[in-house]
Amino acid sequence: MIVGIDSMILVYAGFVPLKPGKRAADFEDLCVRSKLLLHQIERRKGTVLLPTIAISELLVPVPKAQQGELIAALTKKFVCPPFDIMAAAIAADLWSRHKRLPQDQQYGSRQVLRADAMIVASACAAGATDFYSHDGNCRALASLVMTPHDLPTSDPEDMFLEGDIRRGDV
């Protein structure tokens, strides 16, 4: 099982909102779902691909002095494929095939399409067969070359896991 993930999954999984409120509640839910995903992948001994382009996004708010430490930690836990020439060809294919997606699944912004296409293509070129993202447009794009998935809402193999995560027991 080789899966690609987008950068937001790690942001959700590690996010602790400083202020309570509606958005904080939304993010708590996404945090739980992202952690469910990571637990499921680890249980299946899956390999997770986090493309280097996604790493660059994760680094933006991180102080420069700490960026090296975060990169080292990420590369210990994830395969981090760069945007190579095979990925370039896949990205070009994604850009052209994107126009054939239903209107409501197409990107409104070319720049966002370009960034997501490069991330999806990098994961695909390195051998990912599945791609996880909470973003519907990104999943539609990934569906052109891989099997897309949203974040899980429960764990079919461990009915207690979601509760354990919410209580902070795991």
Binding site: I2, K35, A73
Partner: protein
């Protein structure tokens, strides 16, 4: 009842060079060349089929002293003639679309072998239909593979994820990787002895190999891969992994009031 009548040759393989006599040709060169022509005649795709099926094999007939002409008989003669004629069309084609078709991809390794034999023997290898005085179906010189590969193959650095099946080798440093989604095992070259030793410590484990790949254009099938390094990232316990990432700097995202809006802004 088995017929004792000698089979008529289907086609001939010529090693052509001034003053070339059979004694100069090592058995290995003859074997490599004939194996490659057999692959071409049977239409075998080396990526998909390990060996030429018995019902399509070729055998030598009329072998005699004073000749560097090897007459072969095919057990599927019509198919062999058609496949070899097709190789001739592919080799002489300059049209882009024909250059990329599956037939040429399947023929690539045999043509590489024939080119190597031609280079080592300083000759060209011609395949002609038996019993005909016409021009050869195709001719492979020492530069034939180079000429095709420069248009059909792409080279670049990449990552390949696979399970280490074997490491080592008597003649070269090799590593066999089982790559998910690929029918045949991937024979990789390894850059250094030190790397071979490191890979040997990870037999039957999955690795993320970094290296230089040669791909077949369009299909993106890996034709050759040289491993220059590898890693074995492991997520481990997710709770500990997230805590480790937060400590390493990921907690900087806590300061962002709306991470989704921030990411959208980054990407636009």
């Amino acid at each position: 009842m088995v017929s004792k009548k000698k089979a008529a040759p289907t086609f001939r393989v010529h090693f052509v060079a001034p003053d070339l006599v059979p004694e100069q040709i090592p058995l290995r060169a003859v074997s490599d060349a004939l194996s490659a022509v057999q692959d071409l005649a049977s239409g075998r795709d080396p990526f998909e089929i390990a060996h030429v099926p018995p019902e399509k094999d070729i055998r030598l007939v009329d072998v005699r002293r004073g000749s560097a002409v090897y007459s072969c008989v095919s057990r599927a003669p019509d198919e062999a003639r058609a496949n070899l004629a097709h190789v001739g069309v592919l080799l002489s084609s300059t049209d882009e679309q024909q250059m990329e078709e599956d037939g040429l991809v399947a023929a690539l390794r045999p043509i590489e072998s024939l080119s190597q034999v031609a280079r080592s023997m300083r000759c060209r290898i011609e395949v002609t239909l038996a019993g005909q005085q016409e021009s050869p179906l195709f001719v492979v010189g020492e530069d034939a593979f180079q000429r095709i590969s420069s248009r059909l193959l792409l080279r670049g650095d990449t990552t390949v994820i696979g399970r280490v099946e074997r490491v080592g080798g008597a003649t070269g440093m090799r590593c066999l990787l089982r790559v998910p989604g690929r029918h045949r095992i991937l024979y990789c070259d390894v850059e250094s002895k030190d790397l071979v030793r490191r890979l040997g410590q990870h037999l039957y484990e999955q690795i993320a190999a970094r290296g230089t790949a040669t791909w077949i254009h369009r299909s993106w099938r890996i034709y050759q891969f040289t491993i220059t390094d590898f890693t074995q990232p492991q997520l481990g316990d997710p709770t500990e992994a997230i805590e480790e990432l937060r400590s390493a700097g990921l907690k900087a995202w806590d300061e962002i009031a709306d991470p989704e809006a921030f990411m959208r802004e980054l990407r636009s």
